[in-house]
């Protein structure tokens, strides 16, 4: 497969007081090389869980992985042990940009100290053997110059000064630029950005998104971009996958997604964006609980087009155009134009 990442039939549950919450229900998902894919959906739809499953950082005591495979660049991540994942995959080939750049920095260490720690373990210059306490001076210097270079690339003024500061001494936008820089330092193949602009001011969001997109395409890095905000997805994504209640329902190239969505949920989602035409439209009903979710297609209780087939068995993947697939027995055909 030409794809960088392919998730097949992934099933993940969390044990809770009320039983096993089926958070991911046989999810299929893929990202091509150099592609920016948005994973959109409402809170609780499983997008963060999917992202964390790929990264390998699900909470150990409550997460249960059922069936499925995560194929990344030729290796099945689910088959690897934790240590290999931590050493070789995380922070090297797959990096992470968190939602809240403030609390993701340790408040009592300088920014420079934390970046140094990252480079110590994850620098592209590091060889497999010299992991431990050995942080050779020569490599330190090359690492440091790389760091400075990248800090300039993300348009941070005074990189030298910033390294000496503490996290609370820099602004939110600067912190997220730092996070982006840190995610690029190990020269990864895939960056997982979990709602990276949610915590930022609106004016800064667009800057950060553009920066991220430019850097990724320059370096041929793929991005998995989760968000609940369709606007930001539009800004930056090549392709968008929609999730609902632990199931992926549609995946389409960005333009097609907004112009001609096929899944009933996607259309309702796009309709719910406030518009001058129809004001604010919600979707009647509620997101289902995941301990005892609806059978088959989990959207069926709220879908006007639902039939018995929808309740009995979840629809399979149906192609709906180039790079466009949908999981529905009654895909919508008339495109709804949304501004």
């Amino acid at each position: 497969m030409g794809d960088l990442l392919t998730v097949t039939d992934l099933e993940v549950g969390f044990t809770t007081e009320r039983g096993l919450a089926r958070v991911l229900d046989h999810v299929n998902f893929s990202i091509g090389r150099g592609e920016i894919v948005g994973l959109v959906g409402e809170s609780g739809c499983g997008k963060t869980t999917l992202a964390r499953s790929i990264l390998g950082v699900l909470p150990a005591n409550s997460a249960r992985i059922g069936s499925g495979a995560i194929d990344f660049d030729g290796r099945n991540l689910l088959a690897e042990n934790a240590r290999t994942l931590a050493n070789e995959v995380r922070g090297r080939q797959i990096t992470f940009v968190p939602q809240d750049p403030f609390s993701s920095f340790n408040p009592v260490f300088t920014i420079g100290a934390q970046i140094d720690e990252l480079m110590k373990w994850k620098s592209p210059e590091a060889e497999a053997g010299d992991r431990r306490r050995l942080y050779r001076r020569a490599r330190r210097r090359t690492d440091r110059s790389q760091v400075m270079e990248l800090l300039r690339t993300v348009q941070l003024p005074d990189p030298d000064g910033i390294l000496r500061k503490y996290p609370h001494e820099v602004s939110g936008g600067q912190r997220q630029r730092l996070m982006i820089a840190m995610s690029l330092l190990p020269r990864p193949k895939l960056i997982i950005a979990d709602e990276p602009t949610t915590a930022l001011d609106v004016t800064i969001q667009a800057q950060i998104l553009k920066l991220l997109r430019r850097l990724a395409s320059e370096r041929g890095v793929s991005i998995l971009f989760t968000t609940h905000d369709l606007g930001t997805a539009y800004e930056i994504c090549d392709r968008i996958t929609v999730m609902y209640a632990g199931q992926e329902v549609e995946s389409a190239p960005s333009d097609t997604f907004f112009a001609a969505p096929r899944h009933p949920y996607t259309t309702r989602l796009l309709e719910s964006l406030p518009s001058t035409e129809h004001g604010i439209k919600g979707i009647p009903g509620q997101i289902p609980g995941l301990v005892d979710p609806p059978s088959g297609c989990r959207f069926h209780p709220r879908c006007a087009l639902a039939s018995d087939a929808c309740i009995n068995e979840r629809p399979g993947v149906t192609p709906a155009g180039p790079a466009h697939s949908v999981r529905c027995y009654h895909p919508v055909s008339a495109p709804e134009a949304v501004s």
Binding site: A86, R90, G91, P98, P107, V108, F109, E117, K122, M182
Partner: protein
């Protein structure tokens, strides 16, 4: 710069606090139902003799004047005269202070050296058997009376098994006194035998004193580590594949410890409070034993002197803790 301002701020409150302490001790010492002058004078003293004594001790003057004289005296180092020995109390107090401080320091080091790693382990292995056992130890440590623990230790280790000396600070003469801290003094003399003897005598009292402090340290470290482990910065480091042991022992621990430092004042208070009885049980020649003996001798002045110096030590210790906390927590500077 900011740190300096904060330090000065705290220092400003130092003086009124000490003054307040002086007022309190003065007040307490003047509600004695018994009349110490009559006590000194004896049963057969005449009225003139009593009046003369009153004048000598300055207690015939109005209270505010007495308070002023008292404050002035303390500032000059005069803590009054012992009713029992008729010697200045200040000398006795100062000569005994190092013994208590040495014991307290060793106890703090012990409680930190044992309590911090155990607290980290308990947090990292939350709800495991180890965690439960340590939780029991913590709760016990805070429920056990220090004097009873001292007696139990003494019973077991000194009397039954004879592995430690029964009491005292050292057998025979101690090292030549330079600092008053026998461990240091014996090292200065390079006399390993005395050093060993002093250390040997110190084990039980220090352990007894350290036990409740260790329980507290363990409890706070555990809470601090748990807090930090659930934080986003740990999440980020793990997501980026930084080895877990580095995350815990370098980053989480630092965050947890900064929180624990604020508790050092509390811990020091526990130590001082328990030092009195621990010294009594082990016959350790420090301030605590001095207090106990003064109680037995009804030496009210000595007790007041003891209260004063203990209070001062505690206030100074808290001040140092505050300053340290301000220095090591970068968030404080803002």
């Amino acid at each position: 710069m900011r740190a300096l301002v904060l330090t000065v701020n705290r220092l400003i409150w130092f003086v009124p606090t000490i003054l307040g302490l002086l007022i309190i001790t003065f007040t307490i010492s003047h509600i004695i139902p018994a009349d110490p002058i009559a006590f000194i004078a004896g049963d057969n003293a005449s009225a003139e003799q009593i009046a003369a004594l009153k004048e000598k001790f300055g207690v015939d003057k109005p209270l505010p004047v007495q308070l002023w004289n008292y404050i002035v005296g303390v500032v000059q180092g005069d803590f009054g005269v012992s009713l029992y020995t008729h010697r200045p109390i200040a000398n006795d107090l100062l000569s005994r202070l190092p013994a208590t401080l040495e014991l307290a320091f060793v106890a703090i080091i012990l409680s930190a050296a044992i309590g911090i790693p155990l607290g980290v382990l308990a947090a990292v292995n939350r709800n495991s058997m180890l965690d439960h056992v340590l939780r029991i130890v913590t709760v016990s440590g805070l429920a056990i009376a220090a004097f009873w623990l001292a007696i139990l230790f003494q019973l077991l280790f000194a009397m039954e098994w004879s592995v430690t000396p029964l009491q005292g600070r050292v057998d025979g003469w101690g090292p030549d006194v330079h600092t008053g801290f026998f461990l240091i003094d014996s090292l200065i003399m390079a006399d390993w035998e005395i050093f060993g003897d002093v250390a040997h005598h110190m084990i039980l009292p220090a352990l007894t004193l350290a036990f409740p402090a260790m329980a507290t340290v363990m409890r706070f470290t555990r809470a601090g580590v748990l807090d930090a482990i659930n934080s986003n910065y740990v999440d980020y480091q793990q997501a980026m594949g930084i080895p877990r042991r580095v995350v815990i022992w370098r980053y989480v621990l630092r965050n947890a410890l900064i929180g624990t430092v604020t508790q050092l004042g509390l811990i020091f208070g526990i130590l001082i409070a328990n030092a009195v009885v621990v010294e009594a049980v082990f016959d350790w020649p420090g301030l605590g034993l001095y207090a106990v003996n003064s109680i037995l001798q009804s030496d009210y002045s000595a007790i007041m002197g003891f209260t004063l110096i203990m209070g001062m030590v505690f206030i100074i210790a808290n001040l140092l803790v505050d300053i340290t906390h301000g220095a090591i927590d970068p968030r404080e500077a803002h």
